[in-house]
Symmetry: C2
Subunit: 276 residues, 2 copies
């Protein structure tokens, strides 16, 4: 247990609205060969979400330059941006003229078995439910306690856990979005009330449309997983993982036809390891 240190560190932390109220946003970007292949998409989302939270919009060129320089130094890995509303007095109400704090740092790439792309992954259903909130749905904000609790449920052989809302809608994984293919149509849960509108999710949906696959955003229930020909997970670090097992459900062809085409397309000119 760290002792109370009523000094400089505590002051920095207790004045920072990102800590005290979860009043901020983040992006987790894959760095590959010293570059950030999805940088512009990440910045699009980050700045749109700043706008949604009525935060001053950070300078895009500067964010891009700083992130790029950190990626170049790191080579590969993950570059994380956090933008908070910055320091503020006690009280939820935002300061009149907040000075957002921008933090950018490189992290090592998590270990990802090659088989996750070639054979798919086994996942589970979490018992921790994801909340419903029109005010914050879709936003990659700092308040991720539900995901923390759901992640701690993950069994050793499971690469991810799916989270359902109180009505039994399947929303997403703890750190991935979810897509299903059935009869040649790609569907993914609507995110108006829950979940994070992932950068890789939007890239995959656009890619699907570009290669002629019909795309639907619609409610997804557990029964839809049972009937799916293919189940896919996406995020900006892993790319696309096909799912070969959810509890007792199994998929023999993993990746399937649609997943394979999408994986090849998103990998091209970006991150070779994302290909199956």
């Amino acid at each position: 247990m760290k002792p109370v240190d009523p000094g400089r560190d505590t002051r920095i932390l207790m004045d920072e609205r990102g800590l005290t109220y979860g009043d901020g946003l983040f992006e987790t970007m894959r760095a590959e060969g010293g570059r950030l292949p999805l940088l512009e998409r990440h910045l699009d989302r980050l700045l749109a979400d700043c706008h949604r939270l009525h935060m001053p919009i950070p300078d895009r060129e500067r964010l891009a330059a700083q992130s790029t320089s950190i990626a170049a130094a790191a080579g590969g890995g993950v570059v994380k941006i956090i933008v908070t509303r910055g320091a503020g007095a006690r009280g939820y109400r935002p300061p009149q003229d907040p000075e957002p704090r921008v933090m950018i740092e490189a992290f090592p790439l998590p270990e990802i078995p090659r088989e996750n792309y070639t054979d798919g992954v086994s996942i589970q259903i979490c018992s921790t439910r994801i909340g419903r909130s029109s005010a914050t749905a879709g936003i990659k904000h700092l308040g991720r306690l539900e995901q923390v609790l759901a992640s701690s449920e993950l069994q050793g052989d499971c690469a991810e856990g799916l989270m359902l809302d109180e009505h039994g809608h399947v929303i997403e994984g703890t750190r991935c979005n979810l897509l299903l293919a059935r009869d040649g149509v790609l569907s993914t849960p609507r995110l108006e009330m829950s979940g994070v509108a992932g950068v890789m999710r939007s890239l995959v949906l656009e890619t699907a449309e570009a290669i002629g696959v019909e795309v639907r955003e619609e409610p997804v229930m557990l029964g839809d997983l049972e009937r799916a020909d293919e189940v896919l997970l996406t995020n900006a670090v892993i790319g696309v993982w096909p799912v070969n097992r959810i509890d007792s459900l199994r998929w023999r062809r993993s990746p399937g036809a649609i997943g394979r085409r999408l994986m090849v397309a998103v990998a091209a000119d970006r991150v070779p390891a994302w290909a199956p």
Copy 2:
């Protein structure tokens, strides 16, 4: 805009799960005459919520001693405790052996007009909806973005704003719990899906039962506010405020009979300023 400083401060902030994932809790205690009259109740809730989040339980005696010593030095005001899951690598999953970080600091008492107790306060209905989440409901966790957004709606003459959930249930204020009196019965919204189970709320409910007022936790809709004889707001800093106006609804007797009795009872031997 604060520049990126990839140095010590950023490292402290970006490693701290309270900041990166809202993975922590807080308490806001009223200090009065160098004492913390509701300390034991705050510690009860804090430790129960640590348990609910599967966090190591901080040493109660030490928390009490540190808080008391900070209150003694401050005299009056607000003493805030933050407990987070501490430092951790990137990723939602909690570390195997987290070392919680405890921070305790004194803040000045906000300016509270005396009339808030003697004549009541005017409040508004916020358009920002409060979310529903069985995993986090009731917990005073660090993810307070909905409250941040709702607070920024507050008009200059409004002391507080009420937040409704997606179904139109009135849940609480941005920083206060809500109670209604009608025909001698005190009712307050259930908090199984939304809201913070406030320390002052529980004291007021217990006090009501002790003085023979029937108490009900039940769903509350806007129509229930219209029919209420008295509307009360509670939190551990302000005590109890009677409401004299919500948008076009007005209450002439503020505080009313039940509010006055509760205000006198919670003030006694604790904070004289809480009395009407």
